[in-house]
Every structure is written in structure tokens, then in C-alpha cells.
Symmetry: C2
């Protein structure tokens, strides 16, 4: 279990009311930020303290896996320089019984702050560059004492959020926008909306390239899922959403772990598996033969999408 | 591939416009009817001629597997004596280029009619008791000649309907009704709606009884589906929808085939598999160990629900 501290900055209200954290994946200049990389590392059951308006007044439990997701609509014009693509982490927030200003207790807090990527400056003011910081259990326990909140309690009392529930909500919004887009005709709209469920034109395009699940060998079309490699919700163009090279035919259980980012593939046909999958799970999912023998080489165009999946969906 | 003839009787408009067939599962006196059993046997790609108002004016292709489904809302008061529970078969209908009255051609048709469960009487009038009848290819070809429709054409030109698309539409209607039901409080409504996706109270109830997929051994809670044995959409009470004994924890691919009715279980722990699953599919799904060793005995209360599944969901 890990402990985190979030400096919400401008989006505190949206994130606390909405029950989540969201950050772009990259800085606006395209470089990596460790404060955003921590988002990808968050796991269900981890604790987060929320810092906003110079106060710690909420504490949360991570309620589900990080998901690649566009910037929430309710941010409006906030962070208009941010890339539209980011990490979404569902969080079950509770109010801290005694909200407090960390700056007033900085002498107690300073020795426990992380050396790098600290949420606070030495002075006790917030670090403007920080978003999500990883903190140690000693600091978290000190904060719990100051705010009179019980960490164990909060960790036991959340309801898990399924990744599918998050992506469904995001996809519903996108589907609604597609429906209202006057630049497309009805046939085009239907093809895009069917692609969301791996159906219609997208599926037929995938079936021209793939004919069975590369992992389990399943070839029964009634049971195979036409799964996007670069997720439907983050595709930037209609062409990407319908591109047969952006799809694989997968068994339902393989679709599920590929979609969450618990497995991925390298271009030459190697399957990579998240550290969080136990040996028993790997066996039960039917991954052993593919781990031993590979899943076959992918085409150049498939590799471009797989590169995205490895970098931006796979959780490691 | 099989050929069918439907006497829509009172529901022709709804079924032709809606793209489906629906029948109750049993006669109103509770006895079996072969005309309803044929519904269960329909398979994607089968052909159906539609007989309504003494005319054959439509021909269709079965577009998906039969699904257990409540009586369509748009039937209104028609068939109020029918049980609410029935078989739903999606059909892609086309108009027959030259609609015709079979009675006018009864001399040609009579010798080709099935001996039992015929859609027409010897006189050429419709058989009032018939709903779906199975006919032979000779009769289907004669009808195609009379109506000038091409069977091969219609079979090639339909888009497959996923069982999930059908059940989603039905479940959306039920969810809407639950939302409007003033006899329940908000907490109860939410528990029922979450149960639809195998979440919340229902899932916790199932987890008190089951702890892993009985078929594959998968024990990773993040990947297991809490699947209803008696489908959520045909449960008659809130208690059935939330009953832990009405659920199993299944791997995603096992949930899928159990839900469609391509596998089922007997009380003593035997897995039964539809004839339509090939050996290769059985292997790829990871069913072999469970077929050899069984999946463990079920409790008495689980057996009651499994009995329903075997009789009313399993497609054989």
C-alpha cells in the first residue's frame, strides 16, 4: 500500500465532488513529469491526502485502477494548455474531521517530506509544480494525527470502482458528442458508435487482418471481442477509431486484461504482463502458452498502436 | 442451416418493425409447446418466412442467438394471457418482392408441409395454434420462387446482432422502471441497478458463498465477474436479483458463454456444453479441466437457480 498527497491546484472542487484525480500524461512541452507518473502507479486501496486552498481537508482511498482518459468536461477552461489526454484515478473522498494548514505545523512535517517531488516547499508553502506526490507512512500518520482521521477506517470503507464504469461514463459523453456532430452523416456516426463496442465496420476491418485470439487461439467469431489497441475513448480521429490495424480479436478474458492495461504486446510478438498479476492468475487466464511461445509478429501499422498501448495503457 | 415459418398472429407489426420474434416459453396452462421450442433452436443465419394477414410478404435471417426475455413492452395488451417470460430471437427482415397468399398456391405447397407442427392447415388457412414452425428446404425454395426472393442473398446481407445488445436494450427498460418505482427507497434501487452489472450488494452476497471461478480457478477479484445464474432481466423479485445463491464468480470468458447459454452446470458439479461449441473452442476457453474433473457440488439454493438456467437459458 502506498501513500500519496495531491495538490489539486485549480481543480479541487471538480475532483473532490467528482470522486477522482485527473492529470495530463505529459507536461505541456511534451516532457515527462514524475508528478503525473505517480498517477499511473496508484492502486486500489492506496491512501491520498488532498491539499487545496493551503488546507488539508479531505482524505481519500484509491477506488480503482488508473485509466487513460480525456480531460474531464467539467474542467471547462481550466488548464486549457494541458494536453487533452491524461490519467484518471477514481478516489473515494471523506472530509477530515479537523482540517488544518500544514504550514502551521511545518516544523513537524518538514523532516518527513520526500527529498524529491515534495508537495510542500521548505517554507511550508505548496510546491506549485507538484500534482500527485508519493509520501511515506510516517508523514501520512503525522497528517492523520493532525487532522484526526483514521487511515485504517477510510481504507476499509470504500466501494471498488470498476474500470469499466469509469470508461463507460467517459465514452457516453463522447458518444453524445458524436451524435451531435453536424460535420458527419448518419452512416459515419453509426460506424463510430458501433466501433465503441467492437462492432460494425471496425470489426469487419479487424477481421480482415486478424482471425483468432493470438493469446488463447479462440477462433469462434461469436465469442471473440474486437478490441481497440489504442482505446476508442482516446482516439483522435474517426479514422483511428475504425482502423483495422488498431484492433485485435481477443478472448473475453484477454480483452479485459488488455483493456485495463494488465497485459500488453511488443511488436515482435512478446506478451508483457503486469507485476500485479499473480502466477495463479496468469495460469487461470490461459496466458502460459503465449508467455512461452509468443503471439506472433505484428505488422508495422499494428506496432504503432501497440507502442501507444505499451506507453499509455499498460500499467506495469 | 434451418428454415422456419412464423405465423405472427397479433404481433406482426411489432415484430417486423422491431426486427425480432418473441414467444412465451410455455403455453398459458404451463405446458410445453413445440412452436415455442423451435424458438430456442433458431441459430444465426437460419431463414424465416413471415406469414401475416394471410400473406407471405417478408423474409428474414436470424441475426443472433435466442435470448430469455420478458414480453416486449410494445405488445401492450396483446397476449395478456401469455406468461411474461419468453424467447426473443433477433431477425433481419426484408420485404418479399412479390407478396403472395399461400392459400392460392396450396396445391403446390401442401405436399411440402411438415407432417407435424405445420404452419398451414390442409385447406391452406393458417394454423391458429402455430407460432414458429420448422419447414424443409424444398418448401422454402418453393416459397422463394413464388415470392421471387433470393435466399442466398438475404443470408449474406445481415449484420450479426450480439446477445449483449439485445439484453442491454431489455435491461435499460427494466432499469428505467426500477428508477420510477415509488415503492422502493433510493438505497434499494441502487442495489438493484448495481446488481445488473454484478456489483454492490449482490456481488458481496455472492462473495460470501463463492471465492473463485469454479471453471478456471481464477481468484483475482479484480477480474472475476459476479454473474447471475437466473438472469437479472428475468428475475421476478428484488430478492432474486440480490440473492447471493443466484450468482457465481466467473472468469470473463466463462461468464460470457454461461450468459449466452452455451454452457450450464448440474447440481452435482457437472459442466454441460452446447453442441455448437467446437472442440477447439472448448479448449481455448479453458473448459477441459472442468469437463474432466467437474466444478464441485452446488448448494440446494444454488441448484434451484441452476435448474432454471438449464431449462431456460442453456441452448443445448
Amino acid at each position: 500500500m502506498n501513500y500519496y498527497w495531491v495538490n489539486h491546484n485549480q481543480t479541487a472542487r471538480q475532483e473532490l465532488e467528482g470522486g477522482y484525480l485527473w492529470s495530463p500524461k505529459l507536461e505541456s512541452n511534451g516532457s515527462r513529469s514524475q508528478f503525473y507518473e505517480f498517477m499511473r502507479e496508484a492502486r486500489p486501496g492506496d491512501s491520498v491526502v488532498s491539499y487545496a486552498g493551503q488546507l488539508i481537508s479531505n482524505v481519500g482511498v484509491v477506488a480503482g485502477f488508473p485509466v487513460s482518459a480525456p480531460k474531464p468536461e467539467e474542467f471547462g477552461n481550466i488548464g486549457s494548455y494541458w494536453s487533452n489526454e491524461g490519467w484518471y484515478v477514481p478516489v473515494s473522498w471523506s472530509e477530515v474531521p479537523r482540517p488544518f494548514r500544514p504550514k502551521l505545523h511545518i516544523e513537524q512535517i518538514r523532516p518527513l517530506l520526500p527529498e524529491r517531488y515534495s508537495p510542500l516547499q521548505e517554507s511550508g508553502n505548496g510546491n506549485q509544480k507538484a500534482y500527485l506526490s508519493k509520501i511515506n507512512s510516517a508523514l501520512m500518520n503525522r497528517l492523520a494525527t493532525l487532522g484526526q482521521f483514521a487511515l485504517a477506517d477510510s481504507a476499509g470503507s470504500y466501494e471498488a470502482v470498476e474500470p469499466e464504469d469509469i470508461t463507460r461514463a467517459i465514452e457516453d459523453q463522447i458518444e453524445h458528442k458524436i451524435g451531435e456532430d453536424e460535420s458527419m452523416d448518419q452512416t459515419e456516426k453509426e460506424a463510430l458508435i458501433k466501433a465503441r463496442r467492437g462492432q460494425g465496420k471496425f470489426r469487419r476491418n479487424v477481421e480482415k487482418i486478424e482471425n483468432a485470439c493470438r493469446v488463447t487461439g479462440l477462433a469462434d467469431a461469436r465469442l471473440l471481442v474486437a478490441s481497440h489497441i489504442k482505446p476508442w475513448r482516446v482516439c483522435e480521429t474517426a479514422a483511428e477509431r475504425l482502423d483495422g490495424a488498431n484492433g485485435l480479436l481477443l478472448s473475453p478474458q484477454i480483452d479485459k486484461v488488455f483493456d485495463i492495461g494488465l497485459i500488453s504486446f511488443k511488436g515482435e510478438g512478446e506478451i508483457v504482463v503486469s507485476e500485479t498479476l499473480s502466477k495463479q492468475t496468469i495460469t487461470s487466464l490461459g496466458l502460459l502458452p503465449a508467455l512461452r511461445d509468443g503471439v506472433g509478429r505484428f505488422s508495422g501499422r499494428q506496432c504503432e498502436y501497440l507502442d501507444y498501448h505499451l506507453k499509455s495503457v499498460f500499467l506495469g
